[in-house]
Symmetry: C2
DNA sequence: ATATTATATTAAGTTTATCTTAATTTAAGG
DNA sequence: CCTTAAATTAAGATAAACTTAATATAATAT
């Protein structure tokens, strides 16, 4: 049994004539006759009472026609849907490097959900290098990470937003200039495995400043806490200071010129990118106005 | 797009491999690969991301798989239903000659309805000759009529029940024997177009009795009424006398030997009969115990 | 009853679709 | 880099589905 045979069966019922059904289906009457013969043979049951002209659907045949209408409608609806995939559906999987705090991302994801209700969205956190490999392996549609990033020919880097870094020190530190402040007290280093940590490290090395490292920490919050307790100085994204009691801290722009960390979306290059990631990026751009 | 392609698409999703899907479907991998190519070409949209091995369903493809499951399940259910038409459905149309009063028929129809809830039943009354022609033209599945009936090679006569005929006369008629009673008073004839009327006519002619016809009437009830009014004598099915005040009437068995009218079901012969009529007849037999 | 007509059926040939086989390509893993 | 397994592609083989032409037949007209 196949869809074409069902189509023919219904047409015979509607037109009450093999010949008229054939005409409606752009076939010859012989084709219609043979189709019905083949269908009956396949099913091993008669569908027509052929003692009249035209043949009449028997009780069973008439029953099958009614059921077949539903099946055919659904099949046609699926074919239409398949031909015009207009509505975005599926699962977008985005990796996010640990510590990315930009409010842009949640806003973009919210807007995506609203615009494409059938789109499933998943955010998976991880370390930058892991995320990059997972994008390559197509396990992720894209990943949000921070620079620095070694340019790779198979990856595309799409800028999303930037954020200034600042030196933080206890209020009691009086030295002028960021280099002097960093050397005035023990240095609380942000883990170099993170993009920000690495950016800070590179900047310090290139400036020729010799800091006295006290310890290495995994998060900007820890660093801010220790600085407030008077145990040293550090460098953190300025956003991390929101809500803090700035009366107890000094903040000085970090670097010459001041360094900003960039949040970027990486995707596969060379037409290997995921359609869903492209949609996500468009959403981000519309929120930032392209800045 | 066809059902086989949908089947293959789903198998690829479930096995995550063209080769394994091919094995499950008893095809070669090349056939699977070509089917998917053909499907994408027909729909004019890609369904797979082919930059990996095995190819992965893209978002759109995965979405179509989910919809396709429903369509395929319904198609399969219809094929199963079509192959085994176990449950009786459809419309049984039975003709009934005017005046058939046997309680068997309503009882049989009631039992049929109970046994086959999806069976539609229609009873259409008419004159015997009309009904016979309509059975021939397959407009009726069968017809209930009374004998006599001229045997016809294309019609099958299935006996259902019999009923005695009686001569009815006013109490004042004293003659002995049915023949004398019929000639003692004017004869009230039942219309010969009905089976009973014809049966009565034939029996009288064959007996050599010369009745004096007063008038011809269409129903047994009219005859009984006129007899009670003293206007003549007649012949009616004995069932018609139920509830009548028999103190005012004489009743004598009609014919030598006594004549009984038969109610029969006629159907087309030579394997032209309707399945539904056969079911109806079986029901009648089970109610009569075959008598 | 016979003749006519329109339509379904059947047989045979043609066209199209779908499969298999064999060679080639390619992603993935060692 | 090499190897392997699996997907792809081209070409041939097979099966399915159609058309054409002849035949059969129910229905209708005379």
């Amino acid at each position: 049994m196949n869809i074409q045979q069902l189509r023919t069966l219904i047409a015979i019922h509607d037109h009450r004539s093999f010949a008229d059904a054939a005409e409606a289906l752009f076939l010859t009457p012989a084709a219609v006759s043979q189709q019905m013969r083949n269908l009956e043979e396949d099913l091993q049951v008669p569908l027509f009472d052929r003692a009249t002209r035209p043949p009449r659907l028997n009780a069973h045949g008439a029953h099958i026609v009614e059921q077949a209408r539903d099946v055919l409608e659904r099949f046609n609806a699926l074919a239409d849907l398949a031909r015009s995939p207009g509505e975005i559906a599926g699962t977008l999987i985005i990796g996010s490097a640990t510590g990315i705090t930009s409010s842009l991302v949640p806003r973009a994801l919210g807007a995506l959900r609203e615009r494409h209700p059938r789109l499933q969205i998943r955010i998976e956190e991880g370390l930058t290098n892991d995320l990059i490999n997972r994008v390559r392996r197509r396990e992720l549609d894209g990943a949000l990470i921070t620079e620095p990033l070694i340019p790779e020919p198979d990856l595309q880097v799409l800028p999303i937003t930037t954020e200034p870094l600042v030196v933080v020190a206890p209020k009691s530190v009086r030295e002028r200039g960021w280099k002097n402040v960093l050397t005035a007290r023990p240095f609380l280093r942000l883990n170099r495995k993170s993009g920000v940590g690495a950016l800070i490290d590179v900047t310090i090395r290139q400036s020729g400043v010799n800091v006295t490292e006290a310890m290495e920490l995994d998060s900007s919050e820890s660093i801010v806490g220790l600085v407030m307790a008077g145990l040293g100085v550090g460098v953190v994204p300025s956003r991390r200071l929101r809500g803090e009691n700035l009366d107890k801290l000094r903040t000085i722009p970090f670097g010459t010129p001041p360094v900003r960390r960039k949040v970027v979306l990486i995707e596969r290059n060379n037409n290997q990118g995921s359609d869903l990631a492209a949609i996500f990026y468009q959403e981000l751009l519309s929120l930032t106005g392209g800045d």
